[in-house]
C-alpha cells in the first residue's frame, strides 16, 4: 500500500502525519499548562514557516514554472491545490454561519459554489489545457485575435480578483487578531508576509505546492471540531451522515419554541420598538431636539434631587452619545429600526424550502434561490484564478481528471458546512432558548465580549428568548470548539485552517492579477521581444506592488469593498463565460461579437448591481438612482442578466459580422490532436 504511493504522495503523507503529531504535542503541552496565547503563536509560526519552506524549495527562474508550474502537477494534487485555491476565508468561516441564519435558503451557496465545476470539466478545462498557454486573456486573444479583447479580459480579471484578494487579506487580519491577539493592522501585514513567502520566489510552482499543504490543514481543521461535536451529540463521528436526525430534533424544538407566549411577547416588543424609531425618523429634526431637551431636563432634575452620581454620569453619557445632527440621527435610527424589524419577524424553520407566508412570497424566494445558484455557478466556471489551475497538469486527460478531484476535495467542506449549521442550531435551541440569562453556557459570554453574540432581555423576564439573541455568522465555526467543550488547541487548529483558506486563495488571486499585468499587458502587448529574465523581474515586482496595495487597502477595514466580494462572481461570469464557451463550441463566434458581449455583459451586471444595491454615491455626489429589481432578483444575483445579455450579444453581433477564417484552425487544434502537430 505504502510502496504504491508516488514520491509526492509520500512527502505529503509525512507532512500530514507531522502536522497531526504537532497538534498532539500541543494538546499535551496545553494539559501541562501552556497558555492559549502561546498555542495560537505556535500554530501561526508552524504553519507559516511550513509554507515558507515549500516556497523557498520551489523557487524558480523559469517562465513556464513561474506561470504554470512547469505543467507537471498530477491530477490528484492539482485537485487539492484547486480546492485550497477555491475555498476562501468566506467559505471556511462564513458559510456555516450563513447556513445557520438562513437555513435552506443558504444552501444556494453550497450548490452554487460546487456545481460550476461540472461546467469547468465539460466545457472549459480540457480545451484550455490543450491550448496550453499561460492565462485566460491568452486564450481569448488567440481565439478571437487582437489586443482589444486581451485588454478587456485583463480589466475584467483584475476587477474580479482585486476586491477578492483584499477580502482574503482582511480575513487574515481578523483571524490573527482574534486568536493570537495581534493588532489587526499587524495581522494584515503578517498575512502579506505569509502570501509573499509562497508566491514571490516560486510563482505558480510554489503556490501549487503550498496550496496542497494548505488544503490538508484546512480540511482537517474544518472537519475535526464538528466530528467531535457530532460524536458528543449522537455517538457517531461522521456528522454528514447523522445530522438528518439532529435536523428532525431541531424541527421539533422549533415547533415547540417559535410560538411560545414569551417569544410572541418579545417579538411584539421589537415591533413596537421598530414603530417608535420609524416615528422618530419621520419627525426629524424635531424629534432629535425633543430628545435632547428631554434628556437634559432629566439630568437637571436628577442633579437637583441629589441622586446618585452613577445615574447622572450614565445619563450624561447618553446625552453625549446622541446623534450630532439629523443626518446622523437618520442613519443611526434606520439601522436600529431595521435590526428591530428583523428581530420582530417570526423565525423560519431550518429545513423549509422557499419559506414565505403567501405563494407569491414563496415564488420570490424560489426565483432568488435559483438565480443565486446560476450566478455562483457561472462565476465559479469563469473566475480566472480557478481556470488557470487547469493549465498546470501534464496532459488533457489529467486536466479532466483533476476537475473530478477538485470537486471531490471541495465537496468535503461544502457537505460538512450544513452539518455545522444544524448542530449549532440544535445547541442554541436546546441549551440557550428559554434558559435564565444568568445560567447561559460560558461560550456565550466569551463571544458576547467581542461583540459576535448580542443578548438583550427586552421583555425583562430574565429568560432568553430566541428573538433576544443575535449571532454574527462567523461565530458558528469559531465557537464550535468551545460549544463542544474541546481544549483550546482545537480553536487554534480552526484558526490555522481559516488562515490556510485565506492565504491559499489570496496566493492564487494575486498570481492571476500579476500574470495579467506582466504577461498579457507588458509582454504580449508592449514588449513582445522582452527577454525571459526581464519578464520574470517584471512579474515579481508587479507581485510585490499588487500585494502591498491589497494589504494597504485591507488595513483600512473597508466595509464597502468587503460587500463587493459577491460582485466578483457576477463580473467574472458575465465577462468570461459566454466568450469562452461560445469561443470553444461555436465556430461562427467572431472578435466583434466577443468584444461586444464581454463589454455589454459586464456593464449590465455592474449597472444592475449598483442601481439595485445603492440609491446614491456620496463620493461622486449623485443620488436618487435606485431602482426596483427586475423579476424580484436581488443585487447579488445581478450576473444572471449580465450572462444572458453576454450570450445574446455575442450571438447577434457575430451573425452580422463576417466570419473569421482562422477560427476553424484554432478550434481543430484545441478539439482534436493525433500526433502530427505539437
Amino acid at each position: 500500500m505504502f510502496a504504491s504511493l508516488s514520491r509526492l504522495q509520500r512527502y505529503y503523507l509525512y507532512y500530514t502525519v507531522g502536522f497531526l503529531a504537532f497538534i498532539g504535542a500541543l494538546a499535551v503541552l496545553e494539559r501541562h499548562g501552556m497558555p492559549p496565547r502561546w498555542i495560537g503563536y505556535a500554530f501561526l509560526c508552524f504553519t507559516i514557516s511550513m509554507y515558507a519552506l515549500i516556497g523557498i524549495v520551489c523557487r524558480t527562474a523559469d517562465v513556464s514554472e513561474y506561470y504554470v508550474a512547469g505543467r507537471r502537477v498530477p491530477a490528484f494534487f492539482n485537485g487539492m491545490a484547486t480546492g485550497a485555491d477555491w475555498m476562501s476565508a468566506a467559505s471556511f468561516i462564513g458559510l456555516a454561519g450563513t447556513l445557520y441564519l438562513s437555513g435552506f435558503q443558504g444552501l444556494a451557496y453550497v450548490i452554487g459554489w460546487t456545481s460550476g465545476f461540472v461546467l469547468v470539466a465539460l466545457l472549459l478545462a480540457p480545451y484550455l489545457r490543450r491550448f496550453g498557454q499561460y492565462t485566460i486573456p491568452d486564450f481569448l486573444g488567440a481565439r478571437y485575435g487582437g489586443n482589444a479583447i486581451r485588454l478587456v479580459a485583463v480589466a475584467a480579471a483584475i476587477l474580479a480578483s482585486f476586491v477578492y484578494v483584499v477580502a482574503q487579506i482582511y480575513g487574515v487580519g481578523v483571524i490573527t487578531s482574534r486568536f493570537v491577539s495581534l493588532q489587526f493592522e499587524i495581522g494584515v501585514f503578517v498575512g502579506l508576509a505569509g502570501i509573499l513567502v509562497c508566491s514571490f520566489l516560486g510563482g505558480m510552482r510554489a503556490v501549487t505546492w503550498t496550496q496542497v499543504a494548505q488544503y490538508l490543514i484546512l480540511i482537517v481543521a474544518y472537519i475535526t471540531p464538528v466530528a467531535i461535536l457530532s460524536y458528543n451529540q449522537t455517538g457517531n463521528p461522521v456528522p454528514q451522515l447523522v445530522y438528518g436526525q439532529v435536523l428532525q430534533q431541531v424541527t421539533e424544538l422549533e415547533e415547540r419554541l417559535f410560538n411560545s407566549p414569551a417569544e410572541l411577547e418579545a417579538r411584539q416588543l421589537y415591533r413596537e420598538r421598530a414603530d417608535l424609531y420609524a416615528q422618530k425618523i419621520m419627525q426629524l429634526p424635531q424629534s432629535l431636539s425633543f430628545e435632547r431637551e428631554q434628556l437634559s431636563a432629566q439630568i437637571n432634575k436628577l442633579k437637583a434631587s441629589d441622586a446618585q452620581m452613577k445615574d447622572i454620569v450614565a445619563l450624561e453619557r447618553q446625552y453625549r452619545d446622541l446623534p450630532h445632527d439629523p443626518e446622523q440621527a437618520r442613519a443611526r435610527w434606520e439601522n436600529a429600526m431595521f435590526s428591530a424589524v428583523d428581530r420582530s419577524k417570526p423565525p423560519v424553520h431550518h429545513a423549509e424550502a422557499f419559506p414565505g407566508e403567501t405563494v407569491e412570497e414563496q415564488d420570490i424566494m424560489r426565483i432568488n434561490f435559483l438565480a443565486l445558484i446560476f450566478c455562483l455557478t457561472i462565476g465559479t466556471a469563469a473566475l480566472p484564478h480557478v481556470l488557470t489551475r487547469y493549465y498546470t497538469t501534464p496532459s488533457v486527460r489529467q486536466a479532466r481528471e483533476s476537475v473530478f478531484w477538485s470537486l471531490l476535495f471541495i465537496m468535503l467542506l461544502y457537505i460538512t458546512a450544513p452539518a455545522y449549521a444544524v448542530f449549532a442550531k440544535y445547541e442554541v435551541l436546546s441549551h440557550l432558548a428559554e434558559i435564565p440569562i444568568t445560567k447561559l453556557p460560558g461560550w456565550v459570554a466569551a463571544w458576547a465580549k467581542v461583540g459576535l453574540v448580542t443578548i438583550e432581555d427586552i421583555n425583562a423576564d430574565g429568560i432568553l428568548q430566541l428573538a433576544e439573541l443575535a449571532l454574527n455568522p462567523d461565530v458558528v465555526v469559531l465557537a464550535t470548539p468551545e460549544i463542544a467543550g474541546m481544549p483550546y488547541v482545537v480553536s487554534g487548529l480552526v484558526a490555522a485552517g481559516g488562515l490556510a483558506a485565506a492565504l491559499s486563495t489570496a496566493d492564487g488571486l494575486l498570481l492571476t492579477i500579476t500574470s495579467s499585468l506582466s504577461h498579457d499587458v507588458y509582454y504580449r502587448i508592449f514588449r513582445p521581444d522582452a527577454s525571459t529574465q526581464l519578464r520574470l523581474v517584471i512579474s515579481k515586482s508587479m507581485l510585490l506592488v499588487v500585494a502591498i496595495l491589497a494589504a494597504t487597502v485591507a488595513a483600512q477595514k473597508p466595509g464597502t469593498i468587503l460587500s463587493m466580494v459577491s460582485w466578483a462572481f457576477s463580473i467574472a461570469g458575465s465577462a468570461f463565460f459566454p466568450a469562452l464557451v461560445l469561443g470553444i463550441f461555436w465556430e461562427r463566434a467572431t472578435r466583434a461579437g466577443a468584444l461586444a458581449g464581454m463589454v455589454v455583459g459586464t456593464t449590465l451586471s455592474i449597472y444592475y448591481i449598483i442601481r439595485v444595491e445603492f440609491d446614491s454615491i456620496p463620493v461622486l455626489g449623485i443620488s436618487g438612482f435606485g431602482m426596483e429589481p427586475w423579476f424580484h432578483v436581488q443585487s447579488n444575483s445581478g450576473g444572471l442578466f449580465g450572462v444572458l445579455a453576454g450570450f445574446i450579444t455575442i450571438i447577434v453581433v457575430s451573425l452580422i459580422t463576417r466570419p473569421d477564417p482562422r477560427a476553424a484552425n484554432f478550434l481543430n487544434a484545441i478539439r482534436f490532436r493525433n500526433g502530427d502537430d505539437q
Binding site: V118, A351, A353, Q362, R366, F369, R397, R400, L407, I415
Partner: protein, 83 residues
C-alpha cells in the same frame, strides 16, 4: 479537418450536451420543486433539503466521472494523442 477528427468532435459534443442537460435538470429542475419534495424523508432529512445539501453535489461529481470515463474511451478509440 479530417473525417476522424470530425466524428470525434461530434461524439464529444453529443456527450457534452447530454450531460449538461442532465446537470441542468438536477441543479435547476429538481431544485425548483424543493418545496414539494421536502415532504419525503430520507435518512432523517427532508428530501429537498438533502438534495440541496448533498444529493446534487454527489450527482455533479458522478457527471464529471462519467464524462471522463467516456472521453478516455473516445480518445483511445480515435487515437487522440495526450502529451
Amino acid at each position: 479537418m479530417t473525417a476522424k477528427a470530425d466524428i470525434h468532435w461530434r461524439k464529444t459534443r453529443r456527450l457534452t450536451f447530454v450531460l449538461i442537460a442532465c446537470w441542468i435538470f438536477v441543479n435547476f429542475g429538481l431544485t425548483w420543486f424543493a418545496r414539494a419534495i421536502n415532504e419525503v424523508t430520507i435518512l432523517g432529512f427532508p428530501l429537498g433539503f438533502y438534495m440541496a445539501a448533498q444529493g446534487t453535489l454527489v450527482i455533479n461529481l458522478m457527471i464529471i466521472w462519467w464524462y471522463n470515463r467516456q472521453m478516455n474511451k473516445l480518445d483511445a478509440q480515435y487515437g487522440v494523442e495526450d502529451d
